[in-house]
Every structure is written in structure tokens, then in C-alpha cells.
């Protein structure tokens, strides 16, 4: 009988842990920011398979670094899912700037006309203390 009680208590503890994980999950959802004030990202087809990927971000002050941390382009392989075909990195030209309150730019990817793409844009702002915050925008476009 004592063993069964222990099992029930264990189950309840597991359940309690699951509930607390849900609460923490909500904490990591974007919720105000000490580094980011506003942002946006989008992708449109501009003809002949070319995709224009736009991003902009405004910090909560002058940032030591601000812009796009990463842009990933995935190609639609239908039942096979999405295949990563291009990654723009923070070190690539046009992705970010230093010592500014805001930054935005357009990056281009030459895709295949008529093919669907998923674009994942991660914008970031790093303050003078070296603290970084990021936000992710995902959009879909047919080239």
C-alpha cells in the first residue's frame, strides 16, 4: 500500500514538473525587451526566381551591434519537407551595423521561379554591456 502511495506521489510530482515547464515556456516567448524596440521582416518575389528578403530592427538605444543574426532560406521539397538551401550569416555584408539605434536592409536569394520557399529571419540587438536579444520572423514566398 505504501508502495502504491509512493507511485501516486511520484506521478503527481511528474505532473507538477510538466506544469512548471509550461510556465517557463511562456517566459521564453518574446515578451518585452531591454534591447529591441521594434522589428519586422518579409520576403517577396521580384521576378525570375529572385527573392528580396527585407528586415529592419530598432533598438532601445544605441547598440554595439544591431541587424540580422541569421537568415535561412528553405526550399519546399513537398512531402520531403523543407531543405535548407542558403544561410546568410551575421558576418556577411549588409547583415548588421555597429553603434546605431536601428538598421535594416534587403538581402537577395536567386531561387527557382515557381518554387515555394520558407524564409527564417533572426534579428538581433546587442547593447553596450554585451547583452543580446533576438526575434525570429518566418515568412513564405513563391519565387
Amino acid at each position: 500500500m505504501k508502495k502504491n502511495k509512493m507511485r501516486i506521489v511520484s506521478l503527481l510530482l511528474v505532473l507538477a514538473c510538466m506544469m512548471s515547464v509550461s510556465a517557463y515556456a511562456s517566459d521564453i516567448v518574446p515578451y518585452a525587451s531591454d534591447q529591441i524596440s521594434a522589428y519586422d521582416g518579409d520576403a517577396i518575389a521580384v521576378g525570375n526566381g529572385r527573392i528580396a528578403i527585407e528586415f529592419s530592427i530598432e533598438g532601445t538605444g544605441k547598440m554595439s551591434s544591431i541587424g540580422a543574426q541569421r537568415i535561412r532560406v528553405y526550399e519546399d521539397y513537398h512531402s520531403d519537407g523543407w531543405a535548407l538551401v542558403k544561410t546568410f550569416r551575421q558576418t556577411d555584408d549588409g547583415m548588421n551595423t555597429s553603434g546605431k539605434v536601428s538598421y535594416g536592409n534587403t538581402m537577395y536569394y536567386n531561387g527557382i521561379a515557381g518554387t515555394k520557399y520558407k524564409i527564417e529571419i533572426v534579428v538581433f540587438a546587442t547593447d553596450s554591456k554585451g547583452v543580446t536579444d533576438t526575434r525570429t520572423v518566418t515568412c513564405y514566398v513563391t519565387a
Binding site: 501516486i8 529591441i36 532601445t60 531543405a83 535594416g104
Partner: protein
């Protein structure tokens, strides 16, 4: 590299243009999607090809790897053991420890599970309303409300030719150069501040121009951000905390005031302009700033 000839060569020819790091990322990403073996083989083949052209030491020497296996794993102590026991010895076999196999849950355990299920049901149905949410699942989705954004129907507007790399002495000068006559810039309020940064960014493909001006004085600072669009496809996302959104009406326009971790943000729409001001200013100053935009 056999997969690279014929049909597959066309299908995966784009892999040749990628770096080894990007190809490795593709391999990692392919773990999350169902993918045909040809794709994996093609990625590996391109990595091998690039590695053989410019060796970086990624691919270990086969003889050395075999020698290392013989010395470190194929030892007397390891006789009868396997490196990959979790996969089971027969196709389709489950990796369940033998002691547990065939042993079902007893009556008490089932009773415990029932109690837990009832408890979970009570928590998920009774707790969320008590916390102000519609349902348990809405507790996660509810955080989306902390992002402020506009949803407006598309608006057409005149779009002038933009000067290239022009430098302006003030935000109003930049707007005037773009033939913008709308009241968008505070008048008397900014006289107390100094303009420390001004940028005008044109997004040609989006028929969009962003204006950002940053002002500061000895005590504080603020930033004005104006987005001019020919067509509203998407608006910006504004970070905000739990504090309430306040509406301040001026010049027949609703100005939304909210906070982002204590910093005031003002957001409003005027014709084809999405406008915002953010900075370390008080609510009173924010309202004074808004009034200053429309004073003539």
C-alpha cells in the same frame, strides 16, 4: 559522386556552390525532415569532393581510424559488448530492458494514473480562467498580445523619387526632400533636444522608405521612426510589457502609448506612414510630444 550524374546531378547541382560548413548544416537540417538517401549521398559526395580538393582534416584517415578502433574498443575487456546496443539485435526490436518486458501496470498504478488524469483535467480547465486566460493552451498563445502591431487595410499613396545617399540636417528636411507635407515631426518639443543620428533607408523592392532620427539632451533621449509604404503588406512588431495600452487622440488620429520594460513607445498611423517614437521619456512628455507634432 555517382549520384551527381544524370537526373540527380540537376536536382542537387546547387550543392556544388555551397561551402563545406553550409553542406554540414544541410546534413544537420536533413535530420529533421524526411529525405531520400540520394540527397544525403549527394551532400556527402560534395563534402568529400571539396575536402579532397582542399583538405582541412575533417575526414579521418581510414587506416588510422581502424587502428584506433582496434586499440581502444576491440579489447579483451570489451569482448561480447556492442557499441550500439540501443538499436537492438533484430530488425524492429524495441530497446526495452529485458527486466521490464512483458510486465504491465498493476492495479494501483492504473489507479494512480486515473488520479493524475483527473488532476490534470482539473488544472487545465479550472486554473486558466482563474488566471485570466480562456484555456490552458491560450496561456502560451496569450503572450502574443504583448507584441503591438497594426492591422490596417492597404493604402495607396504618391511615391516620389528618392535622392541617393542624400544627407539631411533634420528629419523634417529629409521628409521635405521627399515631398512629404504631412505633420509627422514634433515641433517645439524637439527644440529641447539635439539630433544625434539620422538615417533614411530605401527598400526599392518594397516601395518603402524608413526614416529614423535620434535626439538627446543632457537628461534623456528618444528616437522617431517613420515607415513610408505605398502598400501596407505587413507592419512592424513593437515590443511591449504587461502595462496597458493608452490611447491619446490628437489631430483626429489615435496615438497608442505603451511601455517596453519601462520605456515609453508611441505608435500611430498617418496616411501612408507608420510612425513611432520610443525612448526614456515620461508619459507627460510623450503627450506633449504628440501635441507638438500638430502645432502650427
Amino acid at each position: 559522386m555517382a549520384e551527381q550524374s544524370g537526373g540527380p546531378a540537376c536536382k542537387y547541382s546547387y550543392l556544388e556552390a555551397l561551402s563545406i560548413e553550409e553542406l554540414e548544416e544541410l546534413l544537420c537540417a536533413s535530420e529533421n525532415v524526411q529525405r531520400d538517401d540520394g540527397y544525403i549521398d549527394a551532400v556527402i559526395a560534395v563534402i568529400r569532393k571539396k575536402e579532397s580538393q582542399t583538405p582541412s582534416g575533417r575526414l579521418p584517415d581510414v587506416d588510422e581510424a581502424w587502428k584506433e578502433f582496434q586499440e581502444q574498443f576491440n579489447t579483451a575487456e570489451g569482448a561480447g559488448m556492442t557499441l550500439y546496443s540501443e538499436f537492438g539485435t533484430e530488425p524492429g526490436s524495441a530497446s526495452v530492458p529485458k527486466a521490464k518486458q512483458g510486465k504491465g501496470l498493476n492495479r494501483s498504478a492504473w489507479r494512480g494514473l486515473a488520479v493524475a488524469a483527473v488532476l490534470a483535467l482539473c488544472i487545465t480547465t479550472l486554473l486558466p480562467p482563474a488566471l485570466g486566460y480562456q484555456s490552458f493552451f491560450a496561456m502560451v498563445g496569450q503572450w502574443n498580445d504583448t507584441i503591438f502591431h497594426f492591422t490596417l487595410p492597404g493604402q495607396e499613396a504618391e511615391y516620389p523619387t528618392i535622392p541617393d545617399d542624400a544627407e539631411y540636417e533634420s528629419l523634417q528636411a529629409a521628409l521635405t526632400a521627399h515631398e512629404i507635407t504631412l505633420p509627422l515631426v514634433p515641433n517645439s518639443f524637439i527644440e529641447e533636444f539635439e539630433l544625434i543620428d539620422l538615417s533614411v533607408t530605401e527598400y526599392e523592392d518594397y516601395d518603402r522608405v524608413d526614416y529614423n532620427a535620434v535626439y538627446e539632451n543632457a537628461d534623456t533621449w528618444f528616437s522617431i521612426y517613420l515607415v513610408q509604404r505605398n502598400e501596407v503588406i505587413k507592419t512592424r512588431q513593437y515590443e511591449k510589457d504587461e502595462s496597458m495600452v493608452k490611447t491619446y487622440r490628437a489631430n483626429d488620429i489615435d496615438h497608442y502609448l505603451f511601455e517596453n520594460n519601462g520605456r515609453i513607445t508611441i505608435a500611430w498611423y498617418n496616411d501612408c506612414f507608420e510612425c513611432s517614437v520610443q525612448g526614456e521619456i515620461s508619459l507627460e512628455d510623450a503627450e506633449r510630444l504628440i501635441d507638438s507634432i500638430y502645432e502650427r
